[in-house]
């Protein structure tokens, strides 16, 4: 049928982002050639961003059900049960490409977008987090500008909208220099009875748009996100949206007030591909058709073409499917908030997606075909660097002479140092639920009027996944869960952000597939199902290549009583310090190798998922018994860094005696998995050691908390570390400032 493409000699579909075979397929679906409006519909809905063309076939690996899972993938966000007929809904989303071009607006609208996903579930947004990845700030003024603008954008939006930004992470590697990552997560709370769905049921029901006017901002954002970033991207500036947090605040309040009444059958936020994707998804879920008249959409610009109206990503808009006859009542509530809800179309029974302009049909395609984006299962190929990095042996490097200085360097290292510079710019206390604030293993938020709280974390480790995508991904899930249990929370479920390079490259596809398998394995072992997520592929630039494979794990947990809330800082001089887990001769993939030896190499530390599950259960158990004064996950920088953090945050010293046959750097800075650092009073410490033996978990009492202000670590009678807590605190607290000011 190629000779029939007379009107399409220029291959407009290629320009729109579709391949020849995709074009062929859509003409088969339509049984004719598309016009420009119809072509635009397919181009957006079949992009990776909306259609998950490369990732969907891999999602089959995920565990998506469980005792606490109320809603798995498929809605705006997943939902988990937190007892007492109350639920949490949460999701994360990437805004990488917009943030690379216009970091302030890119990051701000990323926050706004994910908040609306949570709102669309019927929930009040109670917390925001974000995971940020940049090149090294010492490399260029450009990166520093990106960091400042992204943080400013997140702050401006979150602070105004009144959702506390309670945690997240900020990590650095050269791999993100050309393509920074900005992933935002939001958590919402509601009663089980308040859950809303994104569904367009009821023939004749009205589609109402609420919130902002529709303009040309964010044109084609979904397809922009589904190709490589390159030099010409400044032309894509039109694909960047502009945020208005005040409008978002009004939307939240007004929508939740409307939801209290029985007027609305379905809700969907307008994110990627705007009116189009929100309405297609709701119609598809109900098996219905919809028709939308673009002339009815309130616009802020003149002479917008129908396809522009349909795919605009103007921010702060929601789509409501309203019961026939209730439109005025809905509008009255919005009016109270000085907003308008406008009918733009109806639910139909013919299964067609029909676009009208002033009552005249300008595009018409089957709803199912828009949702039926072709998927691609490719052949992955192991990246060449893995053979070399796996062959790394610890013997090839020498132990530094000055281990004190090594510790201080690590404490001030970009990925480890205090991020107070960042979270001081975020209102992390508004709504008055923040029990444990940023800078700890997990953010803890109380549930008002209940003796319980929730733990929220967001973690990643691109270097781990670069060196071993499968085990690296497992490790991130395990670490997230460790961060939950040390805070007193039982891990419930995760949302995943899959940030990768171009999946059409076999090596990237390998990383993607292996990471997904790794996440799946760890989630099964730790019983934290995947309840939703986001894929951001094509994160690469011609100059810097692909980013590290960076799956980001957002996790929630349940703290069953406020008395279980535990923090990482030492509490009292005289308490015993206990190390749970085995320290092995492992230096591969460590922060230490990267920062001290300038090496990104070696294999990711071993991880026994069965042991991990057992150890985590044990930690949670002893915390719930009230035996633990402080608990901290041993992660980046290893044992010595974890110890120093517990000291400096508690303003207390520590005296440690070990007896291990290990090289000093592996003992101090190696990142052996499944380890925890605890403190407890004498009686409890004894009990912890006993219980650990019963459960088959390795535990050793290794020293005491002191008020001497000294941090000393001895192994087999030999002193390895002898420094002051003040020096550690200084390194940790000034690291970020130094990094932002020093040229590398």
């Amino acid at each position: 049928m190629s000779e029939k493409k007379t009107g399409m000699e220029e291959k407009l579909w290629i320009k729109a982002g579709l391949t020849d075979s995709e074009y062929e397929l859509l003409t088969t679906h339509m049984e004719r050639e598309p016009n420009t409006v119809e072509l635009a519909l397919y181009a957006q809905m079949w992009s990776e961003h909306c259609g998950y063309t490369h990732t969907r076939p891999l999602f089959k690996h995920f565990l998506t059900t469980g005792d606490r899972i109320v809603q798995g993938p498929g809605e705006n966000a997943g939902i988990v049960d937190i007892d007492d007929d109350e639920v949490l809904t949460f999701k994360l989303e990437s805004h990488n490409h917009p943030s690379a071009i216009a970091p302030f607006q890119g990051a701000a609208t990323g926050v706004g977008g994910i908040i609306r996903d949570i709102l669309a579930m019927g929930a009040y947004p109670i917390a925001s987090l974000n995971s940020l990845h940049f090149g090294h700030p010492g490399d260029a003024g450009h990166t520093r500008w990106l960091i400042s603008e992204v943080v400013h954008g997140i702050g401006e939006y979150g602070n105004c909208v009144g959702v506390p930004t309670v945690g997240g992470e900020l990590r650095f590697a050269d791999a993100y220099k050309g393509n920074p990552l900005v992933n935002a997560m939001c958590v919402g709370y509601m009663k089980k009875s308040e859950i809303k769905k994104a569904i367009a049921t009821g023939i004749g029901n009205s589609l109402m748009i609420v919130g902002n006017l529709t303009g040309r901002d964010g044109m084609g954002g979904a397809s922009f996100a589904s190709k490589d970033l390159d030099e010409g991207n400044d032309e894509d500036r039109g694909a960047i949206q502009v945020g208005d947090p005040f409008m978002e605040k009004l939307l939240i309040e007004a929508c939740l007030e409307v939801f209290e009444e029985d007027y609305v059958v379905g809700v969907q936020d307008m994110g990627a591909a705007g009116i189009l994707s929100s309405s297609v998804e709701t119609a598809s879920k109900a098996g219905n058709g919809v028709e939308i008249d673009v002339a009815l959409v309130p616009k802020r610009e003149e002479a917008m073409r129908p396809e522009e109206v349909m795919i605009s990503e103007s921010q702060e808009r929601m789509l409501l499917i309203v019961k026939k006859g209730m439109e005025e009542k809905v509008n009255k509530i919005f009016h109270k908030w000085d907003l308008h809800a406008v009918v733009i179309g109806h639910v139909t029974d013919d299964g067609m997606y029909r676009v009208l302009e002033d009552g005249k049909t300008v595009g018409e395609v089957p709803v199912w075909s828009l949702m039926d984006a072709p998927t691609y299962v490719l052949e992955g190929k192991e990246p060449a660097h893995l053979a070399e990095t796996r062959s790394f042996r610890n013997e090839s490097i020498t132990v530094p002479d000055d281990l004190n200085q090594t510790l201080l360097t690590l404490l001030g290292a970009p990925d480890i140092c205090s991020k107070e510079w960042v979270y001081r710019q975020y209102d992390h206390r508004v709504q008055m639920n923040t029990v444990v604030k940023p800078g700890s293993d997990a953010a803890i938020l109380r549930i008002k009027d209940r003796d319980k709280a929730v733990g929220i974390t967001m973690d990643s480790n691109g270097r781990y996944c670069y060196l071993n995508p499968r085990r690296g991904a497992q490790s991130i899930v395990a670490e997230s869960a460790r961060n939950q249990v040390v805070s007193g929370a039982e891990p419930i479920a995760i949302t995943d952000g899959l940030n990768f390079g171009n999946p059409e490259t076999p090596e990237v596809y390998f990383q993607l597939e292996q990471s997904i398998i790794g996440i799946s394995e760890a989630c099964r072992a730790l019983n934290t199902p995947v309840i939703g997520g986001n894929a951001s592929l094509y994160n690469q630039t011609p100059e810097f290549g692909a980013i590290y494979p960076t799956p980001i794990i957002g996790m929630t947990g349940l703290v069953k009583s406020l008395s279980h809330v535990t923090t990482l800082e030492f509490k009292k001089a005289g308490d015993f310090i206990i190390l749970i887990g085995e320290t092995k001769d492992e230096l591969g993939a460590s922060e230490y190798l990267d920062q001290i030896h300038g090496l990104v190499t070696g294999d990711v530390p071993e991880l026994d998922l069965e042991l991990e599950a057992k150890a985590q259960k044990f930690i949670l158990n002893i915390i719930r018994q009230g035996l633990v004064q402080s608990a901290h996950d041993v992660g980046d920088g290893g044992f010595a860094v974890a110890l120093a953090e517990s000291c400096l945050k508690g303003e207390l010293g520590a005296e440690i005696s070990l007896d291990l046959e290990l090289r000093s750097d592996a003992l101090l800075f190696g990142e052996s998995q499944t380890r925890f650092l605890l403190s407890a009073n004498a009686e409890s410490a004894e009990k912890i050691i006993e219980l650990a033996a019963d459960r088959g978990v390795e535990a050793a009492s290794i020293g005491r908390v002191t008020d001497s202000g000294q941090l000393s670590i001895n192994n087999a009678e030999k002193n390895l570390i002898n420094t002051t807590v003040t020096e550690c605190a200084d390194a940790f607290n000034t690291g970020f400032d130094k990094m932002m000011k020093t040229d590398k």
């Binding site: 400013h152 702050g155 401006e156 602070n159 105004c160 909208v161 009144g162 208005d244 947090p245 005040f246 409008m247 605040k249 009004l250 309040e253 908030w337 000085d338 979270y423 001081r424 710019q425 975020y426 209102d427 992390h428 206390r429 508004v430 709504q431 008055m432 923040t434 029990v435 109380r446 008002k448 009027d449 406020l562």
Partner: protein, 236 residues
């Protein structure tokens, strides 16, 4: 004795204030809507933090023109107690119910941190629960909290004991090192000449609930409560 929390569309600390009065103090409280011209039966009004109407122009610049603020001015003129917190403080200065204004922070960045304050005048309806010179911790969260007034105004306020709270260290010492935002004389909270309208940038409500491990901002609300109870007692 009824409390009112004034609700602008962009207020985001209204529920927090409501929570403290309702759940921590256990006293009757209701929301007042920004479009209301009548405030009804209230004895004390809280103007909470947030972004009133988005504050695109200047914090509080539009809010002070709202119908409810006209009613609040009348309420205060009749001796009613009004406390403005954060954005509420900004609205009170824009309304000229309190002297001075709040400029952008010295560091040009939004600042959210747990902040030590020292009580500079405890003989007011808002601070009677505190000892003179007592230090308390109240979180701050603002971009425009840098208090400024003309030198003669500041001198006048100092003389009249109109400074209620200053930014300080844990020993109660006030210096530029403990001044987070550049406020003149480290001013964190002030009161009007007649002693019934108070504004402060720090959030006492965020330091009022035991679960959050900060509680000594609660004294502000208890002071108001005791003042009202005394007044009601003497009225009867």
């Amino acid at each position: 004795m009824n409390w009112g929390v004034l609700l602008f569309p962009g207020s985001n600390c209204a529920e927090d204030c409501f929570h403290v009065i309702d759940k921590v103090l256990g006293k009757p409280v209701k929301y007042l809507w920004h479009k209301d011209t009548e405030l009804g039966d209230v004895d004390a009004i809280i103007i909470p933090g947030g972004f009133s109407y988005g504050d695109h122009l200047r914090p509080g610049a539009i809010a002070h023109l709202s119908p409810a603020m006209t009613a609040v001015k009348e309420f205060a003129a009749n001796g009613g107690l009004v406390i403005g917190i954060c954005n509420g403080f900004q609205i009170l200065t824009e309304s000229r119910m309190l002297p001075g204004s709040l400029l952008q922070n010295r560091g040009l960045k939004f600042l959210c941190q747990d902040q030590t304050l020292v009580v500079d005048n405890n003989s007011t309806p808002f601070t009677s629960e505190y000892e003179q010179g007592e230090t308390i911790i109240c979180p701050i969260a603002h971009n425009e909290g840098n208090y400024y007034a003309k030198p003669e105004t500041i001198a006048e306020m100092e003389k009249n004991g109109q400074i209620l709270f200053r930014y300080a260290n844990s020993d109660g010492e006030v210096s530029e090192a403990t001044n987070p935002n550049g406020s003149l004389n480290s001013i964190a909270g002030i009161i009007n000449r007649t002693g019934n309208v108070m504004g402060m940038m720090p959030h006492p409500e965020r330091s009022s609930d035991e679960v959050l491990r900060l509680t000594n901002g609660k004294g502000v609300f208890i002071s108001i409560l005791k003042h009202l109870e005394m007044k009601h007692g003497s009225d009867q």
